[in-house]
Symmetry: C2
Subunit: 199 residues, 2 copies
């Protein structure tokens, strides 16, 4: 690409390296940034550095935070005897939006995936075991995704946790609220029937 | 969004302000940046500032450049008597890729669009007129897009140019090379027939 000024080419390259951003989209984004008011371009550059510098893992639950301990772990109002294990910080955000869970979290930052060469040591499993071993935990809710890898990860971790004398549960499977039975897949319907409850 | 650290939220906001980037995509991009090696995050931030600072309009053709005059205008090998008028710097890149045009360019940075409140004074029309008035130009090729606004802009500018005694031409319409007649629209086929040439 010798047709744009080199600093513009360079910015296009940077955008094109982002996941899911092709060359054409990268061009469009770079041109947009060129036309931003100077303060906004500076704010953007600063936001990248600031996030990269200040965001770290909470020393208790491994969620992202810009302090030493995340707001959930630091809050005195949460029930420390229940830990909800999720694969990703975005899952914490999703569960928090439901406004019903009052316990703490543990973020694995991934799932076990032999296909992608991710083993138990590549995700935050031993931090979870250490945390539960320290005592005071009565229940661990496995809230990894209901897919093969999430399932296998939940299974693997629950086997390690049970000898520690803690109750291990799994999120319920079933038909999503607001969905249409007609379009539910067989596996989901099977699980929904299996898990049926008294009305 | 109180579930992510504020510096991460801030970065997500920055990405979400880019055109065509929704909230979910912005999240994905921000998480990717968080995981970048420090040097790469710094290079990204620097690229934004550098492009915003150094890229300006060529004083001759208004194309983007990081010097005073763009490489095309500065080249001694181009024919200054032919000017190809395009709407956007990306169009210069497209025509340069064809490797056939040896003249100079003029970048309008937009097209006249009453719907979007873009008038002739909002694009680089008067710079083109001044350039042609200075003499030495024999032909101006209107290479705006073959859509309503590109057409109207070409028409408007050609009316201003003709009194200056310069030849004004328009890119040929026709069926695209490598395409399939079956899928050509009627307007294109009409133009292709109208513009047919001896073999």
């Amino acid at each position: 690409m010798e047709f744009f000024p080199s600093s513009l080419d360079n910015l296009i390259d940077c955008f094109a390296r982002l996941p899911g951003i092709g060359r054409k989209t990268a061009q469009r984004l770079a041109f947009f940034v060129l036309r931003l008011p100077r303060e906004e371009a500076e704010a953007f550059a600063h936001a990248i550095l600031e996030a990269r510098e200040s965001v770290r893992y909470c020393s208790v639950c491994q969620n992202l935070t810009d302090g030493e301990i995340c707001p959930v772990c630091a809050s005195g109002k949460r029930d420390g005897s229940v830990i909800c294990v999720v694969a990703d910080p975005k899952d914490v955000a999703a569960i928090e939006r439901a406004r019903d869970f009052a316990g703490l979290y543990h973020v694995l930052h991934g799932v076990i995936s032999p296909m992608n060469r991710v083993g138990p040591d590549d995700i935050k499993v031993k931090e979870l075991l250490a945390r539960v071993s320290r005592g005071g935990v009565s229940e661990v809710i496995m809230a990894t995704n209901p897919d093969t890898e999430g399932e296998a990860t939940a299974m693997y971790i629950s086997r390690l946790l049970k000898p520690l004398g803690v109750r291990v549960t799994r999120l319920a499977y079933g038909i999503p609220v607001g969905s249409n039975l007609e379009y539910a897949d067989e596996a989901t319907l099977f699980r929904a029937l299996e898990g049926r409850r008294e009305m």
